[in-house]
């Protein structure tokens, strides 16, 4: 009787272990399929020095007005797809002629144009 209970306990323990392992594997797969997200510290592009390049970058990566664009701490461009997933488009510097952030908004560009006349 006692050995029967021990056997049942072992089977139960094994069952729980297998279920737990399955859940871990499932979580790992889920995590892997969603691993492509902007890393912590990423900011909306309009809050970064790349703000002046916002329109040009969006045009080059083919993003709609509603698609979020973020810049990660390493200067990479991340664009959100219509289904909510994200794509890493690489260094923002690769999307500008100078390789440097414009850093200007429309108002700043106007000031510069007036200054240059």
């Amino acid at each position: 009787m006692e050995s029967h209970s021990l056997l049942e306990l072992a089977v139960d323990t094994l069952h729980v272990g297998l279920v737990y392992a399955g859940r871990l594997a499932e979580n790992a797969m889920h995590s892997q399929s969603n691993s492509s997200v902007p890393p912590p510290g990423s900011l909306p592009i309009n809050e970064t020095p790349w703000s002046g390049d916002h329109g040009s970058i969006k045009k080059q990566v083919g993003a709609s007005p509603a698609d979020n664009v973020k810049i990660d701490p390493d200067g990479n461009v991340w664009v959100q797809n219509p289904d909510g997933s994200w794509t890493d488009y690489g260094p923002a510097s690769d999307y500008t002629g100078s390789g440097k952030p414009d850093g200007k908004r429309g108002k700043d560009r106007k000031k510069e144009a007036v200054h240059n006349v």
Binding site: G55, Q60, V61, P65, P82
Partner: protein
């Protein structure tokens, strides 16, 4: 001056099919599943999850309204393709962008809005000036 264009986004469509359907050389294009490569030829290690195809009218001698008319003509001519894009979970957007401090104007008349609504085309506005 407005920047006027059409953007097609779809989970899997072949972008060459869009190029053929809209009879236009794309301003930007990427294929779902392809590796992401920057304009300077650098691979990011990521892959495109969606196909994206855009075409912007680049002739700056045209007024914004003339640009809109040309884009609408392309949309009308490719009506069957654009309907399929919407039905398959994709998205077509007429993009109207303004990125200078200069005055600009344009309008979408009722016929244009009817066409866009019939084909489930979103109209997206974006202003980068302050």
């Amino acid at each position: 001056m407005f920047d006027i264009g059409i953007l097609i986004q779809h989970p899997s469509i072949d972008p060459d099919k869009i190029t053929a359907g809209l009879c236009a050389k794309p301003t930007s294009m990427c294929r779902s599943g392809d590796r992401v490569v920057t304009p300077k030829g650098r691979e990011t290690g990521d892959r495109h999850r969606w196909t994206s195809w855009s075409y912007f009218e680049s002739d700056d001698s045209l007024s914004s309204n003339e640009k809109i008319r040309l884009i609408l003509k392309k949309i009308q001519d490719a009506a069957s393709l654009i309907s399929i894009v919407s039905k398959e979970g994709g998205k077509a957007t007429l993009i109207i962008r303004h990125d200078s401090s200069d005055y600009a104007n344009c309008e979408l008349n009722p016929e244009a809005l009817t066409l866009l609504a019939r084909l489930s085309v979103t109209v997206g506005f974006e202003v980068f000036a302050e």
